[in-house]
């Protein structure tokens, strides 16, 4: 059911993230829908509250207080007795309350196999490939007693279990034994909601019936293709995709108090508006942008526990979304360090820092996920970590977004232990038109210039790419709002949500520092002209307002190219934005940073200064 302004004059929308619950107020004002006020509060998934609706109440209270201030009206209220008043009656209540959720956080799985080093490891690879954290691998030959394995399943409270084991036509007995263990543990969903724990069976196809008999009643059993049909062949795609879909659709939004929250989300006729998983809502928005503008788009939403990447590529608008449930800025921040390695984080830091201090800072953020960087130095460090989280999530996305999904791949024994890939990625940075960033670290960076820097450094856009950001993080809210009002969602999206930050021009290829890389002549809308022969290894920022375009004559030198046709010279219109036009001659494929800090740090400072990313005080 869709509504317009006759029934919707005031809407509260929330996104319950793993760390923060963000509330926005959308109102019909002066003949249009606008986002007017924003509030937030820590997500409440820890005792003594342990109820996600408390965070919603706290964030809504902040909205109410700010609304009273804004309208100088002490009577404004959205909730009474701890619940939304729907529909609105004058100053009291709202016409609809909608929400998205990813409050459950990352995906922590257990995997089982018959032989730890064979099917067990394949299962582990499938789970890792789906962006999960593997808490433990249980196998028939891992030397633990059965009761110890059961105890372990109970203690770890996995979000999902992947069971592998047995070649097709091979052992059934051992596979069923593992299923009996899982049944014996009688695993319950960690958050005790009204759904059963998902268990994916991707083992010997001949054992499927026995597995159904053993586990069918106890868990939500999903059977998929054998991930190791033969010893020398691995077929991870189907299991990996199943893990990913089930997590995104059924697991990640779950949190203590979720059932109560479900009863709160109501439209103007007090009908239920289902809570949407955050990445589903953001995915809808990214697809809508691509279709509206007829362009290729990459979007990213970086949260506390997960980093979600969305892409629309090719003329058929092929949409892909991935949720890296092990990469994020709070709960998963330490895993970013473990996955990216310290040196990759430090390569983005323009000052000396004691390594152990940095490691301890990262761990402290992990154990106190709701804190925010108050010091400039800590902000720079968090943004360096964000670049690596984004880079790794995008790498994972590229592996998912392939031409042929789930194709079986032959592996020889020597290859059997390396990460598998299948098909060719359809992600092509040279044809990409728009890169959109969302999530706390990108949407709430104190300077938009920092957001531009993070997006460019992490995604390394090639050729000519526009950059945009979700202004205050509201894409999830609008994604779910469109379920009851496409009109309201679209209007707010265009006016208040998507902020164009500018355009990045990055010639592709290898060059030598100091040698000429790009000659640019850019006629700006105010009549001025930017003209420079820019050497390799530089960045230039040319201010150009939002909504304006500049005419550019570009010429790449020394083997560098500017577009998919490998042109070296281009006459193009470049879109302006809040930050402006960035000319980046640091090279692509490869993009290389000097290993030695003595060479790297001066370069970082130079680029950051040019991009106006940080105050001078930290760059001296």
């Amino acid at each position: 059911m869709q509504y317009d302004e006759k029934r919707l004059t005031r809407i509260v929308a929330t996104d319950c993230g793993s760390t923060t619950t963000k509330a926005i107020l959308i109102e019909w004002i002066d003949g249009e829908f606008r986002q007017t006020i924003r509030g937030e509060a820590p997500t409440t998934v820890e005792a003594p509250l342990n109820d996600v609706t408390k965070g919603v109440i706290n964030a809504t209270q902040e909205l109410e207080e700010l609304a009273r201030l804004k309208y100088n009206n002490p009577n404004i209220k959205f909730m009474e007795n701890g619940e939304f008043v729907i529909p609105r009656k004058g100053d009291i209540g709202v016409d609809a309350y909608v929400s998205t959720s990813s409050a459950g956080g990352g995906l922590q799985m257990m995997v089982t196999g018959v032989v730890a080093s064979m099917t067990g490891e394949s299962a582990e690879r499938a789970a890792l490939g789906a962006g999960a954290i593997v808490m433990d691998l249980i196998s028939s030959n891992d030397k633990r007693m059965n009761h110890e394995k059961i105890e372990r399943i109970r203690q770890l409270r996995p979000d999902m279990i992947l069971m592998a084991g047995g070649e097709d036509g091979g052992t059934i007995k051992h596979v069923v034994e593992m299923a009996e263990l899982v049944a014996g543990a009688d695993p319950k969903p960690r958050l005790g909601s009204a759904y059963k724990l998902p268990v994916i069976f991707a083992g010997n196809t001949d054992a499927q019936n026995d597995i159904r008999n053993t586990l069918g009643d106890k868990v939500d059993l999903i059977i998929t293709e054998n991930l190791r049909p033969k010893l020398e062949s691995e077929n991870l795609g189907p299991a990996r995709d199943k893990i990913h879909d089930i997590f995104m659709e059924h697991v990640m939004q779950q949190a203590p108090g979720y059932n109560k929250l479900m009863s709160w989300t109501l439209g103007p006729d007090r009908e239920q508006v289902p809570i949407m998983p955050t990445p589903a809502a953001v995915g809808n928005i990214i697809q809508a942008i691509a279709k509206d503008e007829n362009i290729e788009v990459v979007g990213v939403d970086i949260g506390g526990a997960t980093t979600d990447v969305f892409s629309v590529f090719t003329e058929e608008f092929v949409f892909n979304r991935t949720v890296s449930a092990n990469l994020g800025m709070s709960y998963s921040i330490s895993n970013v360090l473990a996955s990216a390695k310290l040196e990759n984080i430090l390569r983005w830091v323009p000052f000396d820092i004691d390594e152990s201090e940095l490691r301890n800072m990262i761990k402290n953020k992990m154990i106190r996920p709701t804190t925010i960087p108050a010091l400039l130095e800590e902000l720079v460090l968090e943004q360096a970590i964000a670049k690596e989280a984004l880079r790794l999530a995008f790498l994972q996305h590229r592996e998912f977004a392939v031409t042929l999904k789930g194709t079986q791949r032959q592996r020889d024994i020597s290859e059997a232990f390396s990460q598998s890939t299948s098909g060719n990625s359809i992600v092509n940075m040279m044809t990409l038109s728009l890169l959109v960033g969302s999530g706390g670290v990108l949407s709430h960076a104190p300077r938009r210039h920092q957001t531009v820097m993070m997006l460019i450094d992490a995604f390394l856009p090639e050729g000519i790419t526009r950059l945009a950001v979700d202004s205050i993080f509201m894409m999830p809210h609008l994604g779910v709002l469109s379920e009851i009002s496409v009109k309201a969602a679209t209007e707010v999206f265009k006016k208040d949500c998507l902020i164009y930050m500018g355009t990045c021009v990055a010639p592709v290829g290898k060059g030598k520092e100091g040698k000429l890389a790009l000659s640019a002549e850019i006629k700006l809308p105010d009549g001025s002209v930017f003209k420079e022969d820019i050497p390799y290894g530089e960045i230039r920022l040319i201010p150009c307002e939002v909504g304006k375009t500049a005419k550019a004559s570009l010429k790449a030198h020394g083997g560098l190219i500017l577009d998919k046709e490998k042109n070296r010279e281009l006459e193009v219109e470049l879109h302006g934005g809040l930050v402006g036009i960035v000319l980046d001659t640091r090279g692509r494929q490869p993009f290389v940073l000097p290993v030695e800090a003595s060479q790297r740090v001066p370069l970082l400072k130079k680029w950051m200064r040019e991009l106006k990313a940080y105050p001078e005080s930290i760059l001296v």
């Binding site: 409440t44 409050a103 956080g105 007693m145 203690q155 301890n360 761990k363 992990m366 925010i372 800590e378």
Partner: protein
């Protein structure tokens, strides 16, 4: 804004606790509702069948399987010890001369005897799987065949992070104040089986020494990330811990790095120096958070054991707060104001702040997200 919710850890001198103690497999519950139990008491148990050891007795004895029946000394179900005679021949002329005998290689029981193959199946003793009470208290509820729920009154401290499983021991303070780093010189045999308390930091070589002296657990304000890595042999990716087998349990009350233990926590522990405590390092920081716990049982009347009311910590003027991020990590202050408008902090981030005052009267402001309320 008059007040705001703030997350915080529980540190209290008295709380009513309920602990579920459940077997991994069904078995028998050894206590009944109302029983008083000690932490180390086994409250539920199940016996797993022992390993089966096949043993060709006829061969060993040098007779045919069919003849075995004439010489066998055991029957299925018999309990055996190592060296129990399983079978023996009568010797020449029945006089015991050149008598041959075969003794049991294991302790356990006889499972079966085959006169066709001459093989006996021996079974090693049953393996008990037990659940202990973990806390001194009273059995409040019995879950038939699975376990119990135990209740007690305790002084109670939630840690921020820990490693290692459940254990119990006597608390022993080894530092004079919460700012002091635990020195290796303080660790000796008097620490055996104790739960030792450090101040702001305990380093790897001290932990290692504590292990060698049989220390059960260490409670510390801070710990270095690299020392944890050295102890575990791997880097922690997400905070899901408690199963580590490093020889002792560690509970960190403040965080990573050298951080003074909160005075309230230190003073509480100090007041129970020499008391018995139950402790575990289990931590899961994700929705449905689990934190490490230090539980010091107190004497109680059963009438006191009423479910505690959930108290929610709120930020309001006058509330005591602890700073949980740089700068001034760990310092205590009193809230003086909660301005509603967003404020720009050093990092240029626009945030909701609070105004507060340190004990020495210095006034400052800080993002609300970077403090926790402590009960005064």
């Amino acid at each position: 804004m008059g007040q705001a919710y703030s997350a915080g850890l529980t540190v209290t001198d008295s709380i009513i606790l309920r602990k579920e103690r459940i077997l991994p497999l069904k078995g028998s519950v050894l206590v009944k509702k109302g029983d008083k139990v000690k932490a180390e008491d086994v409250v539920a148990e199940t016996l797993l069948p022992g390993k089966v050891v096949p043993f060709n007795l006829a061969n060993k004895l040098g007779v045919t399987p069919a003849q075995l029946v004439n010489f066998i000394q055991i029957k299925p179900g018999d309990k055996i010890t190592k060296d129990t005679i399983l079978a023996q021949t009568k010797g020449l002329f029945g006089l015991g001369f050149l008598k041959n005998e075969v003794r049991s290689p294991i302790e356990g029981e006889v499972e079966s005897i085959s006169s066709i193959t001459g093989q006996v199946l021996l079974r090693e003793p049953r393996i008990p799987v037990q659940v202990k009470a973990f806390i001194d208290g009273v059995v409040d509820e019995v879950v038939p065949a699975e376990g119990v729920i135990i209740q007690n009154k305790s002084a109670y401290i939630q840690g921020i992070f820990g490693i290692g499983d459940e254990t119990t021991g006597i608390l022993k303070i080894l530092v004079s104040n919460p700012e002091e780093e635990l020195d290796a010189g303080k660790i000796d045999e008097s620490c055996r089986d104790k739960i030792i308390i450090a101040g702001s930091m305990v380093r790897y070589h001290v932990i290692d020494l504590a292990r060698k002296h049989g220390v059960k657990a260490i409670i510390t304000g801070g710990i270095d990330d690299q020392d944890i890595k050295k102890l575990l042999g791997y880097d922690i990716g997400v905070a899901i811990t408690g199963h580590e087998k490093v020889g002792l349990t560690i509970v960190c009350t403040e965080g990573f790095g050298k951080i003074n233990m909160a005075h309230k926590t230190f003073d509480l522990l100090k007041s129970f120096d020499g008391a018995k405590a139950s402790i575990h390092g289990r931590t899961q920081i994700r929705a449905g958070v689990i934190r490490p716990e230090i539980i010091i049982p107190l004497p109680f009347e059963e009438s006191e054991l009423k479910a505690p009311e959930v108290s929610v910590p709120y930020l309001e003027p006058g509330a005591l707060i602890r700073i949980i991020r740089q700068p001034n990590f760990g310092r205590i202050a009193k809230v003086t104001g909660l301005p509603e408008k967003l404020t720009k902090v050093e990092s240029e981030t626009l945030v909701r702040i609070l105004e507060a005052e340190f004990e020495d009267g210095t006034r400052f402001s800080i993002p609300r997200a970077n403090v926790e309320v402590i009960e005064s």
